[in-house]
């Protein structure tokens, strides 16, 4: 039971990270049905900028929390500029183009951003300064750190803020209007270019926060860290129903938990020694206390993708999604 609880906490933290990155994907998708494949790189830039600022201030004597906040508040505007630039350079000129054209420009921009980051921050693995002291708490036998708790809470707060922004503010109304029908929204006096640019900037700001989260939790930053994170978060967004804010949240948390439980339990579930009558030939080895698992934690990604595929086969537009893109 402790192990299960521990895996649940592990999964929730990982899932919260995915969720915040997924929010960035889903915001952009929600308004122009475009997957911003370069979003992972925005997260990376966020982590890198924060890394630089926090390293600079690490010995300044300021309270650690203040340093991290300063780092984050420097990362956010940089990422917003990057997000805006992405939209202007790579996506806006292609709004009427075939759907796969922006995919290629996104890949191109990813390569460019990665290698610019490589020039600025070197190709080394950067050790993110661990200035906030890690405290470990014991909750019913499971260990949880203060950073984990902050990540999960921050993730919930960000989603709440985003929901409020989309549903309760003037900006949100015009964003939703743009999403529903850009031409009519334009006729109604909504400056749709502005709305779309703002959406990109907000998505990028979320990416910056995610970058700082990842950096301070795992203690490492690298110029290619965005690729895998972006991919997983994209899966999370699709799992929850892309374009849907609570969907990204649900998808992210679920994906994290699935991965953790997968890593934790696939081995036990496929242990051939658990069914000795089926594999008599292995009896001797099993009796010696060995476990012969067909699959192990190495299949955690397979497990996660299988769940994803199963969900999509049953609900072709994700858990909370509604609309379906029609063409490739």
């Amino acid at each position: 039971m402790e192990t299960f609880l521990q895996q649940l906490f592990n999964g929730l933290t990982l899932g919260a990270v995915y969720a915040v990155v997924a929010l960035g994907y889903t915001m952009v998708y929600g308004i122009i049905q475009l997957i911003n494949f370069a979003h992972g790189e925005v997260v990376m830039i966020g982590a890198m900028v924060a890394f630089t600022i926090i390293t600079l201030l690490a010995n300044s004597g300021l309270p650690p929390v203040a340093i991290v906040l300063i780092g984050t508040s420097c990362a956010i505007p940089v990422c917003m500029i990057v997000g805006y630039a992405l939209e202007r350079i790579a996506y806006r000129p292609l709004r009427n183009a075939p759907r796969l054209a922006p995919l290629i420009t996104a890949i191109g921009m990813s390569i460019v951003l990665q290698h610019v980051a490589m020039m600025v921050w070197s190709r080394n693995n950067l050790a993110f300064p661990q200035i906030i002291k890690t405290e470990t708490y014991d909750i019913a036998g499971a260990s949880v750190t203060n950073i984990q708790i902050v990540i999960v809470i921050l993730c919930l707060v960000l989603m709440g803020g985003l929901l409020w922004l989309v549903h309760r503010t003037r900006l949100g109304i015009s964003m939703r209007a743009t999403a529903q029908n850009p031409r009519v929204a334009g006729l109604m006096g909504v400056n749709i270019n502005r709305e779309i640019a703002i959406t990109f900037a907000i998505g990028a700001a979320l990416g910056a926060v995610a970058g700082v989260m990842v950096g301070s939790y795992y203690g490492i930053a690298h110029y290619q860290m965005g690729a895998l994170l972006g991919l997983k978060a994209f899966c999370a967004a699709v799992l929850g129903g892309i374009g849907n804010v609570p969907g990204a949240m649900v998808g992210g948390l679920l994906l994290g938990v699935i991965e953790a439980l997968g890593a934790g339990y696939i081995g036990d579930l496929t242990d051939l020694c658990a069914v000795p009558w089926l594999f008599a030939g292995l009896a001797a080895r099993c009796a010696a206390g060995e476990h012969i698992s067909l699959f192990g934690s190495n299949y955690q990604d397979v497990f996660a993708f299988l769940v994803l595929i199963a969900v999509l086969v049953l609900r072709p537009s994700g858990l909370l999604g509604e609309r379906v893109g029609d063409r490739a």
Partner: protein
């Protein structure tokens, strides 16, 4: 269809000219490796990779370009073909089947995997299909990487080495041979083999595109519901697209394993799928020649940059200001962006796509 017809009519108008053109191209293609070898045998190898990628791009084009189904896990079929060859022609299992026997087996197995992927995704569209195919690609790779225990099938991340080179009629393809005093190196032999396979693949593709099946794919791509209303069995036709596309990947994979003589799962990562997709999109989805051009271009450009970036920097500034490998990747990324901005439907868009683009002009004010 009128567009395609009119083009072929145009060519048919003067058969002599057409034959002369074909002969010229044939001579150029035959002589190409000798010219390339003068610059360096490395360029023959690059040409081989370009043809290999052209095969992959043609296969993916069936799925993405013809049938309009976005596939982000295409490299899985390449992997399946490569592993088929590696397992059946290496000391790993002690099997050494001949090349011409394994190639169809690889194609068939890849074909089965295509159906395996197609079956659960029939209802999915657009981005949801993309993510499932992406997952499929990763699942295949993870299995290849881990099927070393409890029973060793793929040898895991260590990969399979000492794979047999292609050997047809006693001619080994990995060594230099002589024809009338003309030294023909291993990569050159593979070039001719690949060229023949590519020509066959192009012919098959052209025939497919103009066939009943090809028209059915196009119908599904344009409007699935209407296609079904017209009596097209969309399930079968979609599965056929996945299966046909996959078998091209399987064949390319088999040849790849033979050329490299070593394969490991790290050659079949997601980035490769994205690379092949980029070739298809950049060249012009749905247009066979465009797709081949895309593959050749994206294979050659990074290598040309590899050879030129350092000398150019030395000539301009007298020394390397930015490390060549960095600027190479930067230029490659920028080139992708620039081409798509300049030609959003690809370098050589298919006739149908071109029409579509013109129609969609006023959909969203830019």
């Amino acid at each position: 269809m009128p567009h395609v017809k009119s083009q072929s009519h145009h060519l048919m108008r003067s058969p002599v000219l057409a034959w002369v053109g074909i002969a010229l191209i044939a001579v150029a293609l035959i002589a190409l490796p000798f010219a390339l070898a003068q610059i360096g045998t490395a360029w023959v190898r690059i040409a081989n990779l370009a043809i290999l990628f052209a095969l992959l791009a043609l296969g993916l084009n069936i799925v993405v370009g013809f049938a309009g189904l976005l596939d982000l896990g295409y490299i899985a079929f390449f992997a399946v073909g490569a592993y088929c060859y590696a397992l059946l022609a290496s000391p790993h299992f002690g099997l050494h089947l001949p090349f011409w026997l394994i190639l169809p087996i690889g194609a068939l197995v890849a074909c089965l995997f295509g159906v395996l992927l197609g079956a659960p995704t029939l209802k999915l569209r657009g981005d949801y299909l993309a993510i499932v195919t992406l997952g499929f690609g990763e699942i295949v790779r993870v299995f290849l990487n881990n099927l070393a225990r409890p029973i060793n099938i793929t040898n895991g991340p260590q990969g399979i080495s000492r794979i047999d080179p292609v050997s047809i009629g006693g001619i080994k393809f990995n060594t230099t041979g002589k024809v009338f005093d003309l030294a023909i190196s291993g990569p050159m032999k593979y070039y001719y083999l690949l060229l023949i396979v590519l020509i066959i693949a192009i012919v098959i593709n052209i025939r497919l595109q103009n066939s009943r099946i090809g028209r059915a794919w196009e119908a599904i791509r344009e409007d699935e519901i209407a296609a079904r209303a017209m009596g097209i069995n969309t399930t079968q036709i979609k599965l056929l697209a996945f299966a046909m596309g996959a078998s091209f990947g399987g064949i390319a994979g088999g040849i790849f394993a033979a050329i490299q003589q070593f394969i490991s799962p790290e050659s079949f990562v997601l980035v490769e799928s994205i690379m092949v997709l980029s070739m298809v999109v950049l060249g012009g989805m749905g247009n066979i020649w465009g797709v081949v051009a895309g593959a050749v271009l994206l294979s050659f450009v990074p290598e040309i940059l590899r050879y030129t970036v350092l000398p150019v920097q030395n000539a301009l500034f007298g020394r390397a200001i930015v490390e060549p490998e960095v600027i190479r990747m930067l230029l490659f990324g920028l080139a992708l962006v620039a081409v798509m901005l300049y030609r959003p439907a690809g370098l050589f868009p298919s006739a149908v796509r071109r029409r579509e683009l013109a129609k969609a002009d006023a959909r969203l004010p830019a």
